[in-house]
């Protein structure tokens, strides 16, 4: 009996230490993110959604604490996924309104990462669960999965370069769920070129890939940009 109790106590203390480690890791990431009050970034955005045929766009991304984010096409119209606000990790990690759970280790590509789940403490929050894959050596988030109540799931895959010190990626791929897009019948009178249409996909996901070419960090961003 004593043996069993000792084992349970040991296991509990190991779990507790692991949770503390996970919380500490999140704190470290948060500290890096806190270094950024605002930024203006330039990049190229490729959107890959079944029903959207859009060009590769030169975009500017503006961020301002605590959660303002805007993606603007420099030369024309851009279709920005509404969940793209979560491409800023501060929107996922900031706020401390969650419980940190260590979910062990996993690999992202060839990199070994610590998997940490964030459970929001607010029962009514739109985000139900966030899962972060953190490279402990470089203290950066390589992958983030977010499940929401209303807007499906998002996934962020990030690669870092010279802005890793701020936890700002050089490239990110934002994957999101899309709904069926159907035009009302009889409004387009289209030219039938005889080519067969593609069969409908069952699991519809879209991707937005942003390759950042430069960041201007903490030089100020005007509020009017976000209107």
């Amino acid at each position: 009996m004593k043996m069993l109790l000792t084992m349970i106590c040991c296991a509990a203390s190991v779990v507790s230490v692991a949770q503390q480690d996970a919380a500490a890791l999140i704190k470290k990431i948060q500290a890096k993110l806190d270094l950024v009050n605002n930024y203006e970034a330039s990049g190229k955005m490729k959107t890959n959604v079944t029903f959207l045929k859009v060009p590769e766009a030169d975009v500017k991304i503006y961020y301002k604490k605590p959660n303002l984010l805007k993606i603007k096409n420099e030369k024309g119209i851009s279709f920005v996924p509404k969940g793209a606000v979560s491409i800023n990790l501060s929107n996922i990690i900031g706020g401390n309104q969650y419980t940190v759970i260590d979910a062990g280790m996993d690999k992202v590509g060839t990199v070994s990462t610590r998997v940490i789940k964030l459970l929001p403490t607010d029962d009514n929050a739109d985000v139900v669960l966030s899962t972060l894959y953190i490279d402990e050596a470089k203290l950066v988030v390589l992958k983030a999965k977010t499940t929401t109540r209303e807007n499906g799931s998002y996934q962020l895959d990030m690669t870092y370069g010279k802005y890793a010190v701020y936890c700002l990626p050089d490239k990110l791929v934002f994957t999101f769920n899309t709904k069926d897009y159907k035009l009302p019948k009889g409004v387009t009178f289209d030219f039938d070129d005889g080519a067969a249409s593609k069969p409908a996909e069952k699991n519809k996901t879209g991707k937005a890939e942003i390759s950042f070419s430069s960041y201007t960090v903490n030089k100020g961003v005007d509020d009017s940009v976000f209107k």
């Binding site: 045929k53 060009p55 030369k75 119209i77 920005v80 996924p81 509404k82 709904k179 035009l183 289209d190």
Partner: protein, 299 residues
Amino acid sequence: MNMWRLLQIELFKITRRPRTYIAFAAITAIVFIFQFAFKADGQSYMDLMMQSAKDEFAFDRVEAINGYFMCYIILNTLLIQVPILVALIAADSISGEANMGTLRLLVSKPVSRTQIILVKFAAATIFTIFLLVWMAVTALFLSIVIFGTGDMLVFRTKGTESMIMQITKDDVMWRYYAAFAYATVALTVIAALSLLLSIFADNSIGPIIATVCIVIVCTIISNINVPIIDRNVKPFLFTSYLVGWKGFFYIGTNENGNTIKGSLENWPAIRNSLMILIAHIVLIVGISIAVFRKKDILS
């Protein structure tokens, strides 16, 4: 009397007819109504076309309603009605002369009947070109003045698939020039058909109504979307190719679905449609010449 002189006379006759200006007035009125409606509440239309995508994507609706988009919407509507306006003039070519009793006088001149038909056809074609130029001025250039320019969105249904295509603003104008050139050929088929029908009538109402009926019936069959008709009937109807101008706005994409500037999704289909329309013109004008050469002119 040479062909050029004959053509000048034909064009003069067209300009003297009040119905010529009805066509231009009708186009102007429709274009203005569209422009006013979109200026007042274009965003509702954009929301209708975006459907569920408006909940998933943020984009600038005001920027999307620009001159290029407006012209596409107007042409989409107008090019279904414009055949009727072309028929108003072209169907009067021979039957109008018969009605006024001048046909006998015309064929008694030292010109061949072939020349008469070719000149009548050329005059109807020139009228069609002017009508399209007027459409370009009002629907495209005036819309650009009112709404400005920007990237153009094209909403399209392809089989069971619906899609939104974006063409960058520096890639639009050549597509419009090509589309208007295509539309000229497409509407010339209507002019040729009206001319042929006018040979059989002694007043212009009959050929106008006949042309309009043929266009309406064939357009309905072309858009009925029943597989057996799509496979066996649609390819043989000229109305299936009238909207081929839209092919110039179906931009090509790479394997990731990103559009490629300056590309067309299916140029061979556009080219084949164009060839079919030209073949229709040659065939119908040929029949018109053959019929008119053998016609007893009694009026």
